[in-house]
Amino acid sequence: MNLHIAAQINSFLAALVLLTAFGMLVQKRVYGLIHLFAWQGFFLSLNTAIVGFVADRHHLYISSVLTLSLKVFLLPYILHVLIHRLKIRKEVETIVNIPTTMMIGIALVIFSYHLTAPVRELSNLVTRSTIAVALATVMLGLLMMITRKHAVTQIIGFLALENGLFFAATSATYGMPLVVELGVALDVLIAAFIFGIFFFHINRTFDSLDVEQMARLKEGD
């Protein structure tokens, strides 16, 4: 596989990752969100494997497998179980309406391209054009956390943000050292568990998973 094709595939996958990120931003149903998240993980792991192949970095295969198992199967499964146990049926509410969110998201993507322009000029990696997408994914994840009220969507936003970071690592430097990646993967897993436990507590305390309810915890003047 020559480098040109590899760069094409890489860009294509980056576009898919960005697409899923936007998809998550507009998706109202929780199950839909989880599926989109799983798809994003899948594209990510595919991309990692291809980058590993092109750059001849074999430890990226391990990262790829790790991403696949963790982000495509395990975490969506945990979230499924969680939603099932907590009996969440209704649609996810947003604070800002969806078209506005989309507009902000587009602005963020443009901003990321603007930000990473100097990096693209300096770098000579195959994956250099995707750094902007990675940064945009991080920002979209954060935006999703801000615009959603539901606690489960907040964790999905957080995990999407982590996906963006991972993507940035692979595209900017051909991945972090394996030890770091293993550590990050473990952190994400643990974070998911802790969030799960918190959901049960929040649900029990407030009878709802709407994080706006937590404003009641604030001390009065």
Partner: protein, 681 residues
């Protein structure tokens, strides 16, 4: 075997720290705990006293470096005559108070466990000794904080009252603001030593040898003076003092007022005369001005108080003011190259510091005795205690006479020396100061007179007359350790008053080190009988002679009145033709202070209300009257309240950031990230 004084002083500190540790193990045996801990504390204080007095008299400076401290920054100790002098003050009063505590704290055991009091008492003493011994900024601040924290817990000892917690909090806040200023001041000096490039300027030795530019030196001086003045209770930084001193147990109040304030004086003298040592005259003028303000206003505030311990606390503000007057004058004289006069003024200030420790300690111990016996702090409700507490009242009277500056006791000597320093100020080269500084002497004279009035009131209302409350309680004289502690302090007051020549001869090494001159050659030129600070033609005072004359007058008066039986008769009170004179019709503390309240009323915020009972048949024949009087310090409203309000306003504004919604917090970080990315791109 050769022992250096500094080793003795170190041993005293170790003994105190050891007794604090020991106290924690003995907390189950409260009586044993009190006996052991306070005995150890008095031994340690005596050792420190010996070390200090020895250093001063032999005019030596010992140094030591300890193996502990931060890595590469060990603690330094030094015991020079100045440190020795203050070590003598602290050790002396701590010795008396520790003996007093043996009896006093025993009386508290019945009400509450005293382990906390004992532990922090030992730490407090250790902290004060360490402050004086410290010879580097690091150790000094560590010791300073130990002292502040321990005294905070002592103020908080009776923590069930809201008032006490409030006082302790206020004390903590002021102490820390002051400590920050001191830290910054040392930072400036240490930084200038090394050009802000290393840490090795933190020893006082390095600071001593450095040359400072005038601007930086002024910054360092102002910061440290602010910090130490906050601790010393100089007006307008005094607000914590009348709150915190009265609520602490009386033995602790005695130490706080008597010696803890002196550590601040020590700090001022150490930084200005020793570390910076070259300064413009206006520094001294600033110290002098603040000293005068503190002295006059302090005694006026004291006069208005009805709470015995609060009165004593305000009087401490006054006396700190007098000490600062001496130090300020010494600074002015030093900057005009008049070492002999500077030595006189400095001796006066330091002598007053020593005297104040003795008589204020004595008075607080006496107030503790009254509190212990009568369970009452409000003077308006007491009276006639002289019959029930003959020892305490006699010793309290000694304290009152001393603090009022009357011969033959010690207050007179130091105030007289301060006056001499004032009256020599015409030798200054500046004509403006020749005119202005003697005006300060007039204010000092006013202070002395007002403080006499204040203590006439304190003694008269508390001990004379008859009990003002409903039922006179069963009051017993205080126990022997308490008496002993007070007697020793009283004897010290007398000794310092009648033999000032010996004392000045002893302490002369201090001004010799700091301002390069001494006064004992002239002061003791006519033997131990006569104190002649400058020259015999100018002024002289003979303590022993005055003492014997006064003693003779007292003896003769006693003989005339008591030799013949029946020359004193007790008869019913003449009631001016009215009937039924009750005990509540006596002169009270408020009524005694009334004329002065009228004259100096503009210094206070006074609210006086008289309300007649509306149910009376006619206004001319009221059935009942309600009288309410509230006197407050104007400084609180002028300086502190705006500060407190501003900080509350600020925190409310900052609090608006806290919406309690996760999304809002996320937006904060999101916006911050975007902003940083834009800026640092």
């Amino acid at each position: 075997m050769n022992i250096a004084p500094i080793e003795l002083a170190g041993a005293a500190v170790i003994l105190l720290l050891g007794s604090a540790v020991l106290a924690m193990f003995l907390s189950r045996f409260q009586h044993l705990l009190v006996a052991v801990s306070f005995s150890l504390a008095s031994v340690a204080s005596l050792v420190a006293l010996v070390a200090g007095a020895w250093t001063v008299s032999s005019n030596i400076a010992n140094q030591a470096v300890m193996a502990i401290g931060l890595p590469d920054l060990p603690f330094h100790l030094r015991l020079d005559p100045l440190a020795g002098f203050f070590l003598t003050i602290v050790g002396g009063l701590s010795f008396f108070v520790s003996i007093y505590s043996l009896g006093y704290v025993k009386g508290i055991i019945a009400q509450r466990p005293v382990t906390r009091l004992v532990v922090f008492y030992a730490l407090f003493l250790a902290g004060m000794f360490m402050v004086i011994l410290a010879d580097d900024a690091l150790f000094f601040l560590v010791a300073w904080e130990v002292m502040a924290a321990a005294s905070y817990f002592l103020v908080l000892f009776e923590d069930e009252h809201l008032e006490n917690r409030r006082a302790a909090f206020l004390y903590m806040v002021v102490a820390h603001v002051g400590a920050i200023a001191i830290l910054l001041s040392f930072g400036v000096m240490a930084g200038l030593v090394t050009g802000f490039e290393g840490f090795h300027g933190y020893t006082f030795d390095a600071m001593r040898q450095a040359e400072y530019t005038p601007a930086w030196a002024t910054a360092a001086f102002l910061l440290s003076f602010f910090g130490f003045a906050a601790k010393a209770g100089v007006i307008p930084l005094h607000v914590w003092l009348p709150e915190a001193h009265p609520v602490a147990p009386s033995n602790v109040s005695a130490l706080m007022s008597g010696v803890m304030l002196k550590t601040a004086i020590y700090g001022i003298v150490r930084v200005t005369f020793d570390l910076i040592h070259v300064f413009p005259w206006w520094w001294g003028a600033l110290v002098l001005m603040l000293g005068l303000i503190s002295a006059v206003l302090g005694v006026l505030f004291a006069l208005m108080q009805n709470d015995l311990k609060r009165l004593l606390a305000y009087s401490s503000v006054e006396n700190i003011g007098i000490v600062l007057i001496g130090i300020g004058l010494a600074m002015i004289f030093t900057s005009f190259q008049l070492p002999l006069l500077a030595a006189l003024a400095l001796t006066a200030g330091l002598y007053h510091a020593l005297n104040h420790a003795m008589f204020k300690g004595l008075l607080f111990m006496g107030a503790g005795g009254v509190l212990h016996a009568a369970h009452e702090r409000n003077m308006e409700k007491m009276g006639g205690l002289i019959h029930m507490l003959p020892w305490t009242s006699g010793l309290f009277l000694v304290g009152c006479v001393s603090i009022s500056g009357l011969p033959p006791f010690n207050g007179f000597v130091s105030e007289w020396l301060t006056f001499q320093a004032f009256l020599l100020s015409p030798s200054l080269p500046s004509p403006l100061m020749k005119l202005l500084i003697p005006m300060g002497a007039a204010l000092l004279a006013l202070t002395a007179a007002l403080s006499a009035a204040c203590f006439v009131k304190a003694f008269g209302v508390t001990f004379l007359g008859q009990w003002r409350g409903q039922h006179a309680p069963q009051i017993h004289e205080v126990n022997w350790p308490m008496k002993l502690g007070m007697i020793m302090a009283a004897v010290c007051c007398l000794f310092l008053g009648i033999l000032p020549t010996l004392v000045i001869d002893w302490m002369d090494s201090v001004p010799e080190h700091l301002v390069g001159s001494k006064i004992s050659t002239t002061a003791g030129a006519f033997g131990w009988m006569w104190l002649t600070p400058v020259a015999r033609e100018r002024a002289s005072y003979s303590g022993p002679m005055v003492f014997f004359v006064i003693l003779a007058v007292i003896v003769i008066a006693y003989l005339i009145l008591h030799v013949k039986k029946g020359s004193i008769k007790r008869v019913p009170l003449w009631d001016c033709g009215f009937e039924k004179v009750t005990q509540r019709m006596q002169y009270t503390s408020t009524s005694f202070a009334m004329p002065l309240r009228r004259i100096f009323g503009f210094f206070f915020s006074i609210r006086e209300r008289v309300k007649l009972d509306p149910q009376a048949a006619h206004r001319a024949f009221p059935g009942k009257m309600h009288y309410a009087l509230r006197i407050r310090d104007r400084f609180w409203g002028w300086i502190y309240k705006p500060l407190v309000d501003a900080s509350f306003l600020m925190s409310r504004l900052v609090g608006k950031l806290q919406q309690g919604r996760i999304q809002t917090y996320l937006i904060y970080s999101f916006v911050t990230i975007i902003f940083l990315l834009m800026v640092t791109r």
